[in-house]
């Protein structure tokens, strides 16, 4: 009997646990409890969190607008006898982090679910038992200083703080308002960058920055990770771009391009043309395939050749039943929508339809077999 109750209790607890787990972590992207917790049944009292960083960590990204605009860090009011609370322009910093590590730059080791604040993990009191992670004050300052030190080279407290007494309440309010309005200006992306390299032949590398974003669908962070403000801003005299070695320069490109062989694919003596699928292969992707990434069609990693230009190769056989003609920008009228594809499209790439099979006096694109709509 006793045994039974115990077993029931055990399963109940498991059930309850599974319930709360879903509430706390709604989106466990394939990570297990053991990634973060050391015990089988973590509770709120004893979460038995493993020391950071855990082996595989999930961090989530939000857009800067999703977070608060301004945070006034006044948790230490009692302790702060020297300095007034800091007004932290959260949104501005979130925007700036876009070129670096994103939200996880500060919200590190964020469990799956919503973005959590610093004080959820870092204790407010410095005199504490668990010393595996810094207290809240330490955590704040460590994060701030990693960037602010490189920015100005200074560690002056007054860079962020106002000395107590110097600022009164109205000033703090206006500071808050001011911070809320501060946003990082939109980062203007260059379209083309021409690199002069020390290479004897093939001196020039023409880099189509806009193509990498628009055509290949790369995010800023795909290349610009961990870049401090100084990459763009030169506030201090000492701030200068790091001199990179050849290997370091190639490293960024090498994640997609083969930089070991085939130098001429990037290097040439003159300005190179940008990437043009039609010119290179004869298959125009600007019409219908501009929004999909390369690997949708080119499955094999690093190999972009050997695909047939025929639509059937990827799409299978189209019939009047399974093809939404609307997608091409032309909604067929009733008579034409009943026809088989091949009645009009005789070429394998379904280009230029012929009308002469039925009509003697009509031709495309002078006459439209339906009505034109906006392509989406």
């Amino acid at each position: 009997m006793k045994m039974k109750i115990l077993i029931t209790l055990f399963f109940c607890s498991l059930f309850v646990n599974a319930q709360t787990q879903k509430q706390v972590h709604p989106n466990l992207n394939g990570i297990t409890c053991k990634t973060c917790h050391s015990c089988d049944i973590p509770t709120k009292e004893n979460p038995c969190i493993l020391p950071c960083p855990r082996e595989k960590m999930v961090s989530i990204d939000q857009s800067p607008e999703d977070g608060p605009a301004v945070i006034t860090i006044d948790k230490f009011k009692k302790q702060s006898d020297i300095y007034a609370p800091v007004v932290f322009s959260h949104r501005l910093h979130a925007e700036m982090s876009g070129m670096a590590g994103g939200c996880k730059m500060c919200h590190h080791y964020n469990p799956p679910g919503q973005v959590i604040g610093c004080s959820d993990c870092h204790e407010l009191t410095r005199k504490r038992v668990d010393i595996s992670k810094p207290d809240l004050k330490g955590a704040y300052h460590r994060l701030c200083m990693t960037c602010h030190r490189s920015w100005s080279g200074k560690t002056d407290c007054t860079e962020c703080h106002q000395q107590n007494g110097a600022a009164n309440k109205t000033q703090a309010q206006s500071l808050e308002d001011k911070s809320a309005k501060r946003v990082h200006p939109k980062i203007i992306t260059p379209s083309t960058i021409k690199f002069d390299t020390p290479k004897a032949s093939g001196k020039m590398v023409t880099f189509y920055h806009s193509q990498h974003i628009d055509l290949f669908g790369l995010e800023c962070q795909s290349c610009h990770s961990n870049e401090s403000c100084m990459k763009c801003h030169t506030k201090t005299q000492t701030a200068s771009l790091k001199i990179k070695t050849t290997d370091q320069k190639h490293l960024l490109c090498a994640s997609c391009h083969n930089t070991k062989t085939n130098c001429s694919s990037c290097h040439s003596d003159t300005v190179k043309e940008g990437f043009n699928h039609k010119e290179l292969t004869g298959f125009d992707i600007t019409k219908f395939h501009s929004k999909i990434s390369c690997n949708i069609c080119h499955h094999e990693k690093g190999k972009f050749t050997g695909l047939s230009k025929e639509c059937i190769n990827c799409h299978g056989k189209w019939t009047q039943a399974n093809f939404q003609h609307k997608i091409t920008g032309v909604v067929l009228d009733e008579t034409h929508s009943a026809l088989e594809c091949s009645d009009c499209h005789q070429e394998k790439n379904y280009a230029n339809p012929v009308c002469s099979n039925c009509h003697e006096d009509k031709s495309y694109p002078k006459n439209i077999p339906g009505k034109l709509v906006k392509k989406n």
Binding site: P134, R142, S150, T155, D156
Partner: protein
Amino acid sequence: MANYSRRDFLKTAAIAGTAVTGLSSKTKAAPKNILSEDRMGVLVDTTVCIGCRKCEWACKTAHNLETPSIDTYDNRSVFNKMRRPNDKALTVVNEYHNNDQDKFPINVKVQCMHCDHPACVSACIVGAFSKQENGSVIWDTDKCIGCRYCMVACPFQVPAFEFSKALKPDIKKCDFCFERTKEGKLPACTEICPVEAITYGRREDLVKAAHQKIKNYPNRYINRVYGEYEVGGTSWIYLANKEFEKLDFPKLGKDPAPGVSEAIQHGIFAYFVPPVALYALLGGVMWINKNKKKTENETEI
């Protein structure tokens, strides 16, 4: 004159012997030297320290030393030359080049290490120094006679002396804020540190935490916790990303600093047996020689 008898000799010798043994039983009274399992310590992570020198300010304020205004501590030109704690500043922060990467400079806070087996406690002539249960090594200024032997003994060259004072000059060193911790407060420097580069906690926990950090960030730290074993272990322990000797830490062995000295000392004074034995031996030699002389004289006559 010459009838000084053998019995007299033995009697006086016995009295002298008892007096000496009486002394020996009292000498065991040694200064407080506790090595508690729950002793506290501080983990200094030099890779976190930003060199803001707020600890210097807090230390001076807490110890009623002459303290400049807090704004003056932003001046980083003091790092141009290496500084040491002295009678006017019980802790100082120094700066070193980070030659591995062109990253931030390395800042190292210096103060008393609060050894587990302190040389100063062993050395102090009047037993003014003591190792307290909470790990701090402090001294009783009322006992101090100003001999400065603690300064000779300290392997970290920490105790400083008020050479400029003619009247009641004192030894000065970090006391781990003994008065503050007694009231349940944190040491002044660990309380003010903005980045918590100095973590206050049980020494045992700190050693574990330090090794966990090295394991988690093998590129950030060299695999060594300075003070874990140096001179038998210290209460303040350090992490760094560069060889400690290049950051002006002394190269020290694992043996406690007073070890050899105390071994010799206790060897010579093992229950006062060697001195008493020497005394007895010399007494014996004296007696034999005296008798020899007497017989010589008698035979001559």
